[in-house]
């Protein structure tokens, strides 16, 4: 459990960076309230209901987590701390676990904050909340694993830039406030190929009563991406450890 010591360090590093932590929690919370208010102004026909917004904005928040996790890792890489850690007898999977695990509490907090605010804004609590939580948890982990890949491939500035592009992609093609099926064409195909829209679609479906069998494809799509990103992260760590 040597990796655990590094995971604890990364957890502390994340929580002691108060600005990033504040943004990770504040951005989805703020967006949720703003879009809910916009939806109310639009009237009863609005797409922006709490059932539509809460899972979408939660995933939107994960995209910020992706960028911040990438920047933490690339900062360690640039500052040579990662190189120093590579001289310890740790394996690639130890590294990816110790950099990913500290973000899981933040994923859970983001889900709790969005659903907590959603409840205050009128979202009804569900019997199948556990399945919604599972879908979003996997999506959150998927984003953190993608963050690991960006952190290993890019420097801090580049990771921030690429992270911003992904945030925009999630916003435009994730189906958060636009139904991507109505857009159609290449944008729909790109959005549908990525995991974000699948997670949001599955979570929304469960929230209005769907069971697991009807969202299984979407769930496995997200899970598949998560496993691929994890494996790719292990591969990249292995390559970085001995150049």
């Amino acid at each position: 459990m040597r990796f655990w010591e590094l995971a604890i360090r990364n957890f502390k590093e994340m929580w002691r960076d108060l600005i990033s932590t504040g943004l990770e929690i504040g951005i989805p919370a703020g967006f949720l309230v703003i879009f809910w208010a916009l939806g109310r102004n639009m009237g009863d026909e609005s797409f922006l209901t709490t059932t539509m917004l809460v899972p979408g904005i939660t995933v939107f928040g994960f995209a910020f987590l992706l960028m911040f996790s990438a920047m933490t890792l690339s900062r360690d890489k640039e500052g040579a701390l990662l190189s120093r850690l590579f001289t310890a007898p740790l394996k690639p999977r130890d590294f990816i676990l110790s950099y990913s695990l500290p973000y899981i509490p933040m994923v859970i907090i983001q889900i709790a904050v969005c659903f907590g605010i959603g409840a205050l804004l009128g979202l009804e609590l569900l019997e199948n909340a556990g399945l919604v939580f599972l879908i979003l948890l996997v999506m959150g982990i998927c984003c953190v694993e993608l963050g690991m890949i960006l952190g290993l491939l890019f420097n801090v500035n580049q990771a921030s830039g690429v992270g911003s592009v992904i945030i925009t992609l999630v916003a435009l093609l994730g189906g958060i406030w636009i139904n991507i099926e109505t857009i159609g064409g290449v944008f729909y195909r790109i959005g549908n190929a990525l995991p974000f829209a699948h997670a949001i679609k599955a979570a929304r479906a469960v929230m209005i009563g769907a069971d697991f069998s009807s969202i299984a494809t979407d769930f496995y799509w997200v899970l598949g991406y998560t496993l691929v990103f994890f494996a790719l992260g292990v591969f990249l760590f292995r390559r970085k450890m001995v150049e």
Binding site: R2, F3, W4, E5, L6, I8, R9, K12, E13, R16, D17, G79, A80, L81, S83, R84, L85, F86, T87, A88, P89, L90, M241, V242, E243
Partner: protein, 314 residues
């Protein structure tokens, strides 16, 4: 793999160790044997290949050809065994900025598998050793450069490694901080095998048992500091501090002695044989006011200059 030439008395042995980056040969077939408990210095200018060599010995870089053993473990074939017995203080102050000094030490001990109780005990000892006990609870991002360096060295010692690599441990520090770190390194002499890379001549001269002068990836010379200096002592140097030294006088001296160099406050004369009286008798009638004239012992800089034709610059 066990090498026939490997000797148990040697902590590190390299066998034609080489590393290329594209067309650039950073380390060019070096063969070294470093004894257990020895403080061995790799001395050379920036870009000479010192850090590349260290990175290969720490299993961070794969050699292009050749190999090395650390306490008998091959760096190519058993890197995990090597990593179990080494620790490194890298050239950059590689520390976790949002952790405090004590947490940084515990991190390093923890990832190297030390029991919590042991880590705690050694952390306190090391904080005391590097004079950071009073600042142990402060996040290290608020530390000065010298404090960070001291902590970085302490971090490399938590696991009590058999072999310690110190890569430019005093780079960029002021002379006072540098001397403080030298004292800490000197305390470790004989207790563990230390490989120190530096481009500071005084550092290698003051600390090392043996020095390998490295230039363009190759070992240019190897020996104790005194052996290296003796190797060029066939040339004597006389340092003359004087006033009224005209260009004509210096020019005329150059006709007598093979090497005459003007300095800030006089001249340096180099020749196989030098006579104090001969120099004084030559200069005085030409109106030169001699303040002092004394023989100069060769320095490692002279050795480096003699071997490579270049000067080590700070």
């Amino acid at each position: 793999m066990n090498y026939g030439t490997n000797d148990n008395r040697f902590a590190i042995q390299t066998f034609s160790l080489s590393r290329k980056f594209g067309d650039l040969i950073a380390v060019d077939g070096i063969d070294l044997s470093i004894k257990e408990g020895e403080l061995f210095s790799l001395l050379g200018p920036n870009g000479a290949g010192k850090t590349t060599a260290i990175k290969m010995l720490c299993c961070l870089l794969r050699p292009s050809s050749g190999t090395a053993t650390v306490m008998g473990h091959d760096i190519n074939e058993d890197p995990m065994a090597v990593k179990q017995i080494i620790d490194v203080s890298p050239q950059e102050t590689a520390i976790a900025e949002h952790l405090n000094a004590r947490e940084n030490l515990r991190l390093m001990g923890g990832i190297r598998g030390l029991a919590k109780k042991e880590v705690k005990k050694r952390s306190e000892e090391l904080l005391e050793m590097v004079g950071l006990t009073k600042r142990a609870k402060e996040q290290v991002r608020r530390f000065s450069g010298g404090m960070k360096r001291r902590l970085s060295i302490a971090m490399a010692l938590v696991s009590n490694p058999q072999v310690l690599f110190l890569d430019e441990p005093t780079l960029g520090l002021d002379p006072q901080s540098r001397r403080g770190i030298w004292e800490h390194i000197a305390e470790l002499k004989g207790k563990k095998t230390i490989v120190l890379t530096t481009h500071y001549l005084e550092e290698a001269d003051a600390l090392a048992d043996r020095i390998a002068i490295i230039d363009e990836g190759k070992i240019a010379a190897l020996g104790t500091p005194q052996e290296l200096k003796d190797s060029i002592s066939d040339m004597q140097v006389m340092v003359v501090k004087a006033k009224n030294l005209t260009p004509d006088v210096i020019k005329s001296l150059k006709e007598i002695y093979p090497e005459v160099k003007a300095t800030e406050d006089g001249i340096e004369i180099k020749a196989k044989e030098l006579s104090f009286y001969e120099i004084v008798d030559y200069l005085r009638p030409r109106g030169v006011a001699i303040q002092s004239a004394s023989p100069k012992q060769p320095t490692l800089d002279d050795v480096f200059l003699h071997l490579t034709g270049k000067e080590l610059r700070e």
